[in-house]
Amino acid sequence: MPDSLLQAIQQVVNGLTLGSIYALIAIGYTMVYGIIGMINFAHGEIYMIGAYLGLIAVTALVLLGIDSVWLLLPLALAFSVIVTSGYGWAMERIAYRPLRGRHRLVPLISAIGVSIFLQNYVQLTQGARDVALAQLIRGGWRLGEAGGFQVYISYVQAIIAVVAILFMTLLTLFVSRTSLGRACRATAQDRVMARLLGIDTDRVIALTFVLGAALAAAAGILVMLHYGLVNAHMGFVVGIKAFTAAVLGGIGSIPGAMLGGVLLGLAESFASAYLSTQYKDVVAFSLLVLVLLFRPTGILGRPEVEKV
């Protein structure tokens, strides 16, 4: 195969890795938006907290003498997902629930406050510097002839894909098959009606935040494995991009968020390979503006009818 094609395949691999992380975070945005129509601006920070908690768990387990990667990872993942979900729940309970029913700018501004608060909370408790982790899992597969360009797929990238697909499948099954999932869909469709029919909508909304936080925590751990680096400000830009992914796929739609995440990941990895790495963020934001311009409902979204 010619080198240029192999290089393109490499970008597809990188894009899918990045995209599945965006997808995991984007689901949190899309679910919250679908259910209460607000942009949870602090969701990127939840992802950052997930990454930190994952790293803390890994370090603690290593200090306790557990060094089998296959034991370390699931334990750290479980720990981070549970504690981060707690953060998601507390955030909704403290900063958003009292604002239910107010003008739509009010919760958005509150969310910006939460975002600034969490960034500085982590910076104060964990320091402002990057914390690096030595690579836990090394190696990968190489495809292509020796001497020419080889497509490299690291084991971590494979793990990212597997974990992301696992979580997304679980979520899809939860939303489509369980009674709580049905309550979620009902609340998203019509909150007042769902309440009249006996659904505890406050609980459903809290659950949405918890689920979103759990997925964001998973994304955080995967990123930490991939790049081996965390800091208190890592969530901000990733958060905006994941939101872009959610809009791209059609906000409010869970499969849309997955699709949007993957598309954004691909766009970004091709942009950084063929244009310039400095401008990859510009590409992502420009994509957002273009999508809103030509298809404001996103790829899988349905047009919203405003009722008087």
Partner: protein, 408 residues
Amino acid sequence: MRARLLDAGAWALLALLLAGPMAGLRLQTEGTGLTLVTQWRPLAVIVVLVFVFRLLQQTALPALTRLALPKPRLSGAGLARHPAVLGLLFAVAVIWPFFASRGAIDLATLALIYVMLGLGLNIVVGLAGLLDLGYVAFYAIGAYGFALLAQHAGIGFWLALPICGILAAISGILLGFPVLRLRGDYLAIVTLGFGEIVYLLLNNLDGLTGGPNGIGGIPKPTLFGLEFARRSADGPTFHEFFGLEFSSSHRVIFLYLLALVLVVITLAVIHRLRTMPVGRAWEALREDEIACRALGLNPTSIKLSAFALGATFAGFAGCFFAARQGFISPESFTFIESAIILVIVILGGMGSQAGIVLAAVFMTLLPELAREFDQYRMLLFGLGMVLMMIWRPQGLLPSRRPRLELRQ
């Protein structure tokens, strides 16, 4: 009381569980690996604070907030509108710098820049009800506009001021045109993205903007061509012309007065605009877009006018900022800056001009007064935003709309 204690205890326990791994353990690099250090103080502080706060929130706070925050009617806004009061305030603002220290005047100038930014953003957020999270981008366009004009075309401050305003307005229109048709929250995110794009461009277009190093040597404003320097090659300087002893504080006071004039003009223009049809249309649109449409108003063009005008004032402020600093770099135009301006608007009370002036002064003075809390400044800032939204979303001095009430 027992139930309240139990409830506060439950919250403290939750705080312990959540903050435990994050605030109680600190990651530290050791050689090539990582290790964890326990730190009890931050964790203890968090848990105790949560407990006390929750307890107070249920007992003392409801009574306290009723006492401390009177209803908007009692805010004294009517008195502050009286021409004599306004004139007196203005006279004090003009006279005090001649008796004040240099540092104080500098700080006041900075506060005035924030007043200008707050007033500009108030048009967009407070009056038209559009959330702009990238307002700092227009500020940056004004500042870099002047810096580049001065560097490449040798244009002075006074000519650059209107050009910067127009530049910012044009970029506001270009950005607003595609997205203003959309729902409010999309606008918030697109403006946020725009702010980030501008920041990234400033940082990466090394050839044009100097990248992270910024642009230096920006000329200071002159008074009808008189420079504020010890001596100048282009004719007499300020102190030579008036036969005064040279003093560096002349320039500081001049810059302050210039900012004051700009702020007064901004206040006057916006005050007039509010009573004009376009201003009425902004507020009508904020209240009910569908009703506006039904009355034959074109929401897109009304929003666009608010967006462009708001951007114009940011352009003026940016131009003045660049002239005052003499040096600008992308670090002055980060998202946090946008958030601070937004908080000024909210704190002051959306739509209320007097409130915004007070809030801008407060937000600039606070970090100076509470220097020992510098570390916690942004933490408290974020917390303040949330608490503000919960208890007093209308701001400290909410705007009063002119209205008539029928007495029964």
